[in-house]
C-alpha cells in the first residue's frame, strides 16, 4: 500500500519497519444492557500502516475519526478486535499481558493534554522516573536519578527543578515532562496523540522543534496524530487522512499536500487558516457543510458522502476501496478522485473509476 516514497521520506527510510498494522479493526459495544439500547461503534475500520525506523507518519482526522483509538492500539494499550499489529517484528495482538507489558517499553504514548495527563501530586522527577521503576532492567537503580536528570535536560528542562510539581510549570513545559517520561525507556516509537493541540501557537513550534531534534538524535519513529493538516505538514514524511474510522487518503507529504485526490483532504487543506493577508478577500469556496456524522450511525457506502460536493448514487451504495489511481500513484478511497489539475485549481470531479 505504500507508494514509492519520494523526497525526504526516501532519504529517511532505512528500510527497516518498526511498527506495522494490517487490516486493524476495533469495535466498541456501547449502551447499557439494562435499557437494551445496545449499539456498536466501528472506531477503527481496516487500517494498514507501515512505519520505518526514524520515520514520521502523520495521521489526520477530526473528532470521531478513530485516530485516538488507533493511537491506543498502536501503543499496545488496547486490543484489536481483528487484524494484526507488529512491533519490531513481534505480534502485539497475540501477546499475553505479561509479554505485552514488556513489549510496550518500545512504544510510548505522548498524550494530548499536559494538564490532565500528569499526576498533580507527583514531582516531575518522580513522573519521569516511574517508567524506570516499572521496567527495572532498563537502568539499574543506582543510575536512575542521573538518568532522570539527563532526560529532563534532553527535553530542555532544568534538572534542578525535578522536585517541583506539575502546576508550577506552563503548558509547554508540562508537555516536555510528558515527552521526557515517554523517552525514559528508550523506545523505538513514539505515538504522539495531538501533542500540541492544547498549546499556544508559539509554544507548539517549540515542541515540534524539540520532537524533530529528538528524532534526529535518537533515531525515533513517530506516529504523529493531529486534527488538522497544518501542524502535520511540518513534521510528517508520510500522511494518512482518516474519516470515521477509515483511511481515505494516504501518501507521501508531497502527494497529499500538493496533489490531494480525496475531496475530504482537499477540504481539510482549504480549511487551514492562512497567516497572510492575501487570503483576506479570497472567498472560501471550500467550506464543508455540516459536521462529521456520528460514528454510531455512519452513512452507508462512502462515509464522507453526506458532506461531499460530488457525491452520487454509487457513493451511497458502495464503499470505495483505498486504491491508487494508477500504479505508482498514492492511494485514495473515492469513487471520483480528484485529478491533479482539479486539485490545484477549482474543485472538480475526475472521471469515475470503475
Amino acid at each position: 500500500m505504500t507508494a514509492p516514497t519520494t523526497e525526504t521520506a526516501g532519504a529517511r527510510h532505512r528500510g527497516e519497519t518498526v511498527l506495522c498494522a494490517r487490516d486493524v479493526h476495533r469495535i466498541f459495544q456501547v449502551g447499557s444492557w439494562l435499557s437494551g439500547d445496545r449499539a456498536t461503534v466501528h472506531a477503527v475500520n481496516g487500517i494498514d500502516l507501515d512505519l520505518g525506523r526514524g520515520e514520521t507518519i502523520g495521521i489526520v482526522g477530526e473528532s470521531g475519526s478513530g485516530k485516538s483509538t488507533l493511537a491506543q492500539l498502536l501503543a499496545g494499550l488496547d486490543r484489536v478486535t481483528s487484524g494484526e499489529i507488529e512491533l519490531l517484528g513481534e505480534p502485539l495482538h497475540t501477546m499475553s499481558r505479561r509479554q505485552l507489558r514488556h513489549a510496550r517499553r518500545h512504544v510510548q504514548l505522548v498524550h494530548q493534554d499536559p494538564f490532565t495527563s500528569l499526576d498533580p501530586r507527583m514531582a516531575i522527577g518522580a513522573i519521569v522516573r516511574e517508567p524506570l521503576d516499572v521496567h527495572p532492567d532498563v537502568v539499574p537503580r543506582t543510575g536512575r536519578r542521573r538518568a532522570v536528570a539527563e532526560l529532563l535536560e534532553m527535553v530542555g528542562l532544568n534538572p534542578d527543578h525535578a522536585g517541583r510539581l506539575p502546576h508550577q510549570f506552563s503548558g509547554g513545559q508540562r508537555q516536555r515532562v510528558g515527552i521526557a517520561r515517554a523517552l525514559a525507556l528508550r523506545p523505538e516509537v513514539l505515538v504522539c496523540d495531538e501533542p500540541v493541540s492544547a498549546l499556544d501557537v508559539s509554544v507548539q513550534a517549540q515542541i515540534i522543534n524539540l520532537l524533530e531534534r529528538l528524532q534526529a538524535e535518537l533515531g525515533l519513529a513517530y506516529v504523529f496524530i493531529a486534527h488538522d493538516l497544518a501542524v502535520v505538514q511540518h513534521i510528517a514524511d508520510r500522511v494518512a487522512v482518516m474519516y470515521l474510522g477509515r483511511v481515505v487518503e494516504q501518501g507521501s507529504h508531497a502527494e497529499v499536500y500538493d496533489r490531494p485526490r480525496h475531496p475530504y483532504t482537499k477540504a481539510l487543506l482549504a480549511a487551514i487558516p492562512k497567516p497572510d493577508r492575501a487570503s483576506r478577500h479570497a472567498s472560501r469556496s471550500l467550506v464543508l457543510r455540516g459536521e462529521p456524522p456520528s460514528a454510531l450511525d455512519p452513512p452507508s457506502g462512502c462515509h464522507f458522502r453526506t458532506r461531499c460536493w460530488q457525491a452520487q448514487e454509487v457513493c451511497a451504495a458502495q464503499s470505495p476501496a483505498l486504491l491508487p489511481a494508477e500504479p505508482g500513484a498514492h492511494a485514495a478511497a473515492c469513487h471520483f478522485p480528484l485529478v491533479p489539475a482539479a486539485a490545484t485549481g477549482s474543485a472538480g470531479a475526475a472521471q469515475p473509476r470503475d
Partner: protein, 342 residues
C-alpha cells in the same frame, strides 16, 4: 491615551461613525498569592461599527481579562479594575450605578466563550437560554421569546430549529453548541460581539464554518466584532484592526494590513514566523524561546526583553512607550522603526 485617539480617528475617518466602545488605559489586577498583580496594564482600544478587531496574545497575555473587564464578568474577589475607562457611546460604564450599567452594557455588548459546554446552563433548554437576553432587555414574553429563539437558531444555521429549541445543550455537537452560544449572544441585538477563542476547541472544518458565520453576521448586522485568539492564522482573513498583547501590555496595534505586512514589534514578528508552513519543512520552526513571564514578577523595562532577539541595554532600563510607526500603527518597542523596516 494618544494611542487610542489615533486609532479612533483612523477608524472614524474610514467608516464615518463614532466609535461604539472606547477602552482607555484599562488596568486589571489579579490577586496572586496575596498581592495584586497587573494582568492588563494600560490597554486602550476602540470598537467601531462594522469593523473587526482581533486581539492576539499567548495564554496569560491579558486578552481574556481585557474582554471580561469590558463586559463586566471578571471573577469577583480575585480581580479588580484598578484604572481606566470603558466608554459605551461615550459613557463610562465602570463608574455608573449597577442598574445603569445593566441597561447600557447588557443590550449592547455580548460575549461568547471558548467552551460552549461550560458556558451554557446544562439543565435549561437552549431556547430558554437564547431568549433570556431578549426577555430581559426587550421585555419579550416567554412565547415571544421562544419564537425569537427559533429565528436566532435559524440565523446561526441550525437545521430543524423549531424542534431543536426544546433541546438541552448536551444534545448538540461541539460546533452546533458554539452556534447556540452565538445565538444566545445575538438575542439582545448587540452592537458589539466579543468572541473569546470561539473556534479553539473545534475541528478545523467546523472552525472554518464558525469563522464564516461570525464574519457574515458581522457584515449583515453591521456589528462590531472583537475576536480574541492566540493564532494569527485564524484572524488573518477577517480582521480589520489588530491588537497584540504581551504580559498585559500592548505590544503592537494598528490596521491589520500594516501589522501583517510590516510587523513593528519583534513579538508580532515571532508570532507570525512560528506558524508552520509547508515551505519550512525539514528546517526548525523559528520560535520565541523561553516562556511568557509571570505577571507578578515582570522583567524591568520591556516585558518582552528576556525573550527578544533584539534586546539591548536600554530595554532593561526603560519601558518602551507605545509610539506611532506609521499613521494609526503603534508599537511598544525601542527599535520599532528598524523592526518594521526589516
Amino acid at each position: 491615551m494618544s494611542a487610542s485617539r489615533a486609532v479612533g480617528e483612523l477608524t472614524g475617518s474610514n467608516t464615518y461613525a463614532p466609535p461604539l466602545v472606547e477602552v482607555e488605559d484599562l488596568c486589571v489586577e489579579f490577586r496572586v498569592s496575596g498581592r495584586w498583580a497587573a494582568a492588563v496594564d494600560g490597554v486602550s482600544l476602540t470598537l467601531a461599527l462594522g469593523r473587526t478587531l482581533a486581539v492576539l496574545g499567548e495564554s496569560g497575555s491579558g486578552k481574556s481579562a481585557t474582554a471580561r473587564a469590558m463586559v463586566g464578568v471578571l471573577p469577583a474577589g480575585s480581580s479588580r479594575v484598578s484604572r481606566g475607562q470603558v466608554r459605551v457611546h461615550g459613557r463610562d460604564v465602570l463608574t455608573m450605578s449597577s442598574d445603569d450599567r445593566r441597561a447600557t452594557r447588557g443590550p449592547q455588548l455580548a460575549m461568547i466563550f471558548q467552551d460552549a459546554l461550560s458556558a451554557l446552563n446544562p439543565v435549561l433548554k437552549v431556547g430558554y437560554q437564547i431568549a433570556e437576553g431578549a426577555r430581559e432587555h426587550h421585555g419579550l414574553s416567554r412565547r415571544e421569546g421562544r419564537d425569537r429563539a427559533v429565528e436566532l437558531l435559524e440565523l446561526v444555521g441550525i437545521p430543524d430549529a423549531r424542534r431543536r429549541v426544546g433541546n438541552y445543550p448536551h444534545q448538540f455537537s461541539g460546533g452546533m453548541r458554539q452556534r447556540v452560544m452565538i445565538a444566545t449572544a445575538l438575542a439582545s441585538d448587540p452592537e458589539v460581539l466579543i468572541a473569546d477563542e470561539p473556534t479553539t476547541a473545534l475541528d478545523v472544518t467546523v472552525q472554518a464554518q464558525i469563522l464564516e458565520l461570525l464574519a457574515s453576521l458581522q457584515a449583515d448586522r453591521n456589528m462590531s466584532l472583537m475576536l480574541i485568539t492566540h493564532d494569527m492564522g485564524v484572524v488573518a482573513g477577517v480582521a480589520d484592526d489588530i491588537l497584540v498583547l504581551y504580559a498585559g501590555r500592548v505590544a503592537e496595534q494598528g490596521p491589520a494590513d500594516d501589522v501583517y505586512d510590516h510587523p513593528a514589534h519583534p513579538y508580532t514578528r515571532a508570532l507570525l514566523a512560528s506558524i508552520p508552513r509547508a515551505e519550512q519543512k525539514g528546517k526548525p520552526l523559528p520560535v520565541v524561546g523561553g516562556q511568557p513571564p509571570d505577571i507578578a514578577n515582570l522583567p524591568s523595562g520591556c516585558a518582552f526583553r528576556t525573550r527578544c532577539p533584539r534586546a539591548a541595554a536600554i530595554c532593561a532600563t526603560t519601558r518602551p512607550p507605545l509610539a506611532e510607526v506609521s499613521p494609526g500603527h503603534l508599537s511598544a518597542c525601542h527599535f520599532a522603526a528598524e523592526v518594521a523596516a526589516s
